[in-house]
């Protein structure tokens, strides 16, 4: 019998060296190959790259705020400089009513804003995915019950809930994170469920069951990896929404007074009349940061969506 001719694939990896071929090595090689491919595709997407640059800038800013702490940039050291000053070399973005450099506020705020955004959307992703997978895969009664719960959460006016919860549990960073997570998981859950429903019918799922795989095996080995890209792309977008939500809550005065976030800066500026005092930078700087970060996440999220879209990936 003639041996199979292998189609000419240009990025075929070199044959494995004759020494030890272990399953874990194969897994490692596969991951590395998948990542290089993903990066090769992502690299060609201008929108994604632009977004990535923006994000890297702000992430860098956040990391910087953690480690670099010279006096000048420590906002808790008050009465540094002139109150409500305009931009100057010492204070590139001016100062606020306590004389603290707006630049240092913004840098400090980046850390907490991003932290809140990331953590809240992580909660939302985990909760939403778990519910979506469970209800999509199980179907029947679980599906009906879980979907009605999801509907309930979709309908709740998050702002009203936020106010109530803040009033009950106090204005705490973790309360904010919790509120945002609680009000956004439902959207993720619907999306994940839809994807699970379409994946569930595919023949390779049936093949896995025919091989003897348990529910857990099928879900973890086949359903989850095929649903993961959608979850990931959606999470990136959720982070953007979470940051916006946090800013909104802080702007309304529900923020944590002990932490500086872009939202609290805006709230401070607004309530102290930055506009009428003609000191717009105090207000504009954090706003611009929020807009840019949200833009960055959105662009990366859309780029990932394009890559992850199964019609393009699966030939």
């Amino acid at each position: 019998m003639k041996t199979e001719t292998i189609p000419p694939v240009t990025d075929l990896p070199p044959p494995l060296p004759p020494k030890k071929v272990s399953p874990s090595r194969i897994r490692w090689l596969r991951r590395r190959r998948a990542l290089t491919r993903f990066w090769a595709q992502f690299r060609t997407n201008k929108m994604g790259l632009a977004g990535l640059v923006i994000l890297l800038f702000f992430i860098g800013m956040a990391i910087f705020s953690v480690f670099a702490n010279p006096d000048r940039l420590d906002p808790t050291i008050t009465t540094n400089g002139p109150v409500l000053a305009g931009p100057s070399w010492a204070y590139p973005l001016g100062t606020d009513r306590d004389g603290i450099s707006v630049l240092s506020l913004v840098v400090e705020g980046s850390r907490t804003s991003l932290f809140v955004g990331l953590t809240a959307s992580l909660i939302s992703m985990v909760l939403g995915s778990a519910v979506g997978i469970w209800s999509g895969y199980r179907g029947a009664f679980s599906d009906v019950v879980l979907m009605r719960v999801t509907d309930a959460f979709l309908v709740i006016p998050w702002l009203a809930l936020a106010i109530v919860l803040a009033a009950v549990f106090g204005q705490n960073l973790w309360v904010i994170i919790f509120i945002i997570g609680l009000t956004s998981w439902a959207g993720t859950s619907r999306l994940v469920r839809a994807q699970v429903l379409s994946v569930k019918e595919r023949t390779y799922i049936e093949r896995s069951r025919a091989l003897g795989g348990s529910d857990w095996h099928v879900v973890s080995r086949h359903v989850l990896p095929n649903v993961m890209p959608v979850i990931f792309a959606n999470t990136i977008l959720t982070i953007a929404i979470a940051i916006l939500s946090e800013s909104a809550l802080s702007f309304l005065g529900l923020g944590d007074p002990l932490h500086v976030t872009w939202g609290t800066i805006i709230e401070d500026a607004f309530s102290h009349g930055a506009l009428s005092l003609d000191k717009p930078l105090w207000l504009l700087a954090p706003s611009a940061c929020i807009v840019l970060v949200v833009l960055g996440f959105t662009m990366v999220g859309f780029a990932m969506d394009e890559i992850v879209n199964p019609r393009i990936r699966e030939r």
Partner: protein, 328 residues
Amino acid sequence: MSVLSVRDLEVTYSTKGGDVPAVRGVSFDIGKGEVLGLAGESGCGKSTIAGAILRLHAAQTKIGGAITLDGEDVLGLSPGKLRATRWTGASIVFQGALHTLNPVQKVGDQIVEAITVHHMAADKEAYVRAGALLEQVGLPPRRIDDYPHELSGGQKQRVMIAMALACSPSLIIADEPTTALDVMVQAQVLKLLRSLQNDLGLAMLFITHDLSVLVEVSDRLAIMYAGKIVEEGAATEVFHTPVHPYTKALAAAFPQIGDPRFRRHPSGLGGDPPDPQHIPSGCPFHPRCAEVTDVCPEIDPQLWEAGAGRRAACVHAVGAPAFEASQP
């Protein structure tokens, strides 16, 4: 004069990954009342030809050669004349069951659309004609009020055929019309096509991968491989006494029940039909050929004489020029 005349047709798709030469020089004629069967597997270019005849491909697709339909040069038609020719000169019966009928429109409305777009009749008359067409394909006329989901696979295919007949074309192109159907329904639809074609004196180009269906329905048969025709001749002769090794292998994949040669003896080809972007040198079939010779990777086979009314693009055809082996 033939209804359809194709000369040296070349179709190349432009894709992100480069140019894909789907059809690389195909010529054939179809006379009035004649059925030409076009057989081949994935990647051979047969469905591309169907689209090329009515110029249905995207604008970036490069088409070379000449296509003459009813004496008119299709590739040179202005957009207005082209639209007028579509469906009235030639129409296509697609693989109907799937997505070719609009699910939110009644079946009758879709047939009427074909009629009114070509101003063949005004509204009321058009519906009467649609009903008559349905009758012609074996469906009761009242079905014009049904939606596609209310019809079975075979019935949907009949509607497709009725649509194709709507403007009385001279040529019908059938592109895998029975592939998704059950064997019994397939037989019914084939019988219908053959009888319509006979009664109305239509020319037909029947495209499919199922060689056994073609043998039943066609007068002449052309086998395609890697964008070119590799063998052509009378249908039964090509099937029962193939010359080209590819035709031999393809015919062997459709065993005749009762023939002891096939019993417990599946035969097939190794390898796969070539990717249009990576066609082997010389004769494109040589890597998989059971009768390959030394010269095959180097020569460019043309359709040489291989018997009465038969041509084959192979060194083993009787009319092939003698080739010097490249090495003694």
